[in-house]
Symmetry: C2
Subunit: 415 residues, 2 copies
């Protein structure tokens, strides 16, 4: 029963977590206790632009038996990595342990659509819903028109917490069904700017814990969130048996980006590898605040946002975490047009992988970078979600009109 118990333990104890506190990304000597969860960033340290420093989780790495931990086989459920995560108080759904699929040219696709709600967000929500449980909150509140909202709702339902999701009336129809599926209260508030004060009020008056950001003018992020994402790095290392040369990451607020970097960085801290891969941010050209921050040397940026069908990652603000990931790893900031992403989407569908437009930004960047394949290790592109979440999916005009049943018509259709 070893594996089975592991894949679905309903949590409760800390499972051997070596987490020690919330640490400032501006000054690693500043460590706050694990609770309360500080959603506004570090109260003691600020960045050069005056925004609060994001926090992430610090561990007693010297107490982690890294050889033993990474010597065990892959397994579903983040509890597989319990020593290197905050306490997983919320029960799991067998998240993670997603496959690497190899394309003909040798590029590896980490297919995150194989998660419980079919996106990478499940890794984050296992950890953030755990934080809400640890905090004694009666529920969580989320602002999301897509994968994050549905995933948060699923983990809240599993944990017996209430869930409020602020969504957009313009969410794609399949996504609207998805958001409602897990029994959350879906709030389609207009105008959009009114959401922030309502999130804060639900938090203040009802005690629901926000799963996401609390700082509208820069992205500070949930201190626990990227801890879930970093398990992607662990899995890639475990499966490939080596460190990639480059990892391309679809980038919205940069939390996945930072998580992946942190995972590889920890492998280095633990003495398992000698270097980290170059971590590449991959943003839609319509916004791309992280590229702006990196170009201008600022810790965060806020930019005007244009239209993009890559709605899941089309953001106005970036966070310092993204800067850390790209700078520390020697990666680059890529900016993609919708056409470049659409081409990557077609390429992957031709290999049997139907992916959301936003989710192929990594492959789109790799393809447009002119980098044919590095000679210092494999190239990995993270694909975050399935094609079911796209705007065009399930609109009525994707239906096929009936055709006559004669052989000539069918023969002609087959070309």
């Amino acid at each position: 029963m070893k594996h089975a118990a592991g894949s679905a333990s309903k949590g409760g104890d800390d499972g051997g977590s070596r987490a020690v506190g919330q640490r400032s990304s501006a000054d690693p000597a500043v460590v706050h206790p694990l609770l309360p969860v500080r959603l506004g960033g570090c109260p003691k340290t600020v960045l050069a632009d005056g925004t609060p420093a994001p926090l992430d989780i610090a561990y007693a790495y010297e107490d982690v038996a890294a050889g033993e931990l990474f010597g065990r086989p892959a397994e579903h459920g983040l509890e597989r990595w319990a020593p290197l995560l905050p306490p997983l108080a919320a029960p799991g759904l067998g998240e993670g342990n997603t496959p690497l699929v190899r394309l003909d040219d040798g590029t590896w696709i980490k297919d995150e659509s194989r998660n419980p709600t079919w996106s990478h967000k499940d890794r984050l929500n296992r950890v953030t819903v755990s934080a809400a449980l640890l905090s004694g909150a009666p529920g969580i509140v989320v602002s999301s028109s897509g994968n994050h909202g549905a995933s948060a709702a699923a983990y809240a339902a599993r944990a017996g917490l209430r869930c409020a999701v602020f969504s957009s009336p313009d969410a794609p129809p399949a996504v609207a069904s998805f958001l409602r599926a897990y029994g959350a209260t879906v709030l389609t508030v207009a105008p959009r700017e009114a959401v922030w004060p309502l999130v804060r009020r639900i938090s203040d008056e009802l005690g629901y814990q926000p799963v996401g950001n609390f700082t509208p003018d820069s992205h500070t992020g949930h201190p626990f969130g990227p801890e879930g994402y970093k398990t992607i790095a662990y899995e890639v290392f475990l499966e490939l048996g080596e460190v990639p040369s480059d990892v391309y990451v679809p980038t919205g607020y940069g939390e996945l980006l930072f998580g992946v970097w942190k995972g590889f960085h920890e492998l280095e801290l633990l003495g398992l590898v000698g270097r980290v891969p170059r971590i590449h941010s991959c943003e839609p050209a319509a916004g791309a605040p992280l590229a702006t921050a990196l170009r201008t040397g600022r810790p965060t940026a806020k930019v005007p946002v244009g239209e993009s069908d890559a709605y899941a990652i089309d953001c106005a603000v970036s966070g310092y975490r993204g800067v850390i990931a790209v700078r520390e790893s020697g990666g680059a900031a890529h900016v993609l047009t919708d056409d470049q992403m659409a081409a990557a989407q077609v390429e992957l569908a031709g290999q049997g992988l139907w992916c959301e437009l936003s989710s192929v930004a990594g492959l789109a960047a790799q393809r447009s970078s002119g980098q044919a394949g590095a000679d210092d290790g494999p190239v990995v592109c993270i694909v975050t979600s399935s094609g079911f979440k796209d705007i065009a999916t399930a609109s009525r005009d994707t239906r096929h009109p009936p055709m006559p049943a004669d052989w000539e018509t069918v023969r002609a259709a087959l070309g």
Copy 2:
């Protein structure tokens, strides 16, 4: 690189397959060579009702190092089980190795929505598209309005084969997008009865190999198909470390049902277990041909089909394979109303799993059977697919109207 290579090998050789031929389910002494693939059933043996006996694959079990094979950790990709499968000529997508998720009452859910195209069908299509490649066919042809068609299209694209999918103009909108995603030619021929002769003509004149059935009045099925499904039984045994008491299987034509039975039966043949679980067929009450066949003692049945939202498993004909699975295992035939399935769907969503209505027929049957949990082993319900495939999903009326941004409205919505 061991695991990585395994999870995505692009096939070509037989990978150590011990398959020896296509064997009659009416007389195990009748074994045809592996090729040509016999889609019309056994040409030498007939069942009591005069229909052709289905074929499945026979193996040289004495040449399988079962202890070694089942001693290795779980891994993505059916090549993990190559000795007990037909040659996997078609490249994979990391199918299988789906998690078991434990419900509060101890029931295990085998979540097949974690496959490459988010349903169990990927296990079948890895094997049947391999059969088409081994046969030298230029393409495949499929009749399906849902998961099977999309999965077949994905594996055909990956293998470089052409794919024709006969679909219904009434397919749910999200499914219509899904079917088109992988570049197959989607043929929405009306009336439905005209499809069979067209499938045959595409096969005869263009050489495309049908992936599915070739016998409209009973379900004989593709000889290779259930071989993919049987890996579910291997995985359940590997993860639980014991044989379940009961396995509940959503049942359309009964191929998944038979595959799961065959997998456990093989574990017994290989000396790894002492018994097989009771295998339960779970059909919509609107049709339920297998329940009719079992009740009347016939090898197959054809019944009138009423309306059901469980469109993926609402079938008019059954096959002898289903009879074998239920009879040989001492299982039972369950017949479910849409309301019973809807209740199971709500229960699972409340645990964080959003499942297609058809796909929860197994849990619905377990819940309505009054069996609180067997004392001779764990109970497993197979869930085949995600809620994105349901008829109601992504219809315009699932959208949320905008609501005013005042606190009273939001507070009231939260109850």
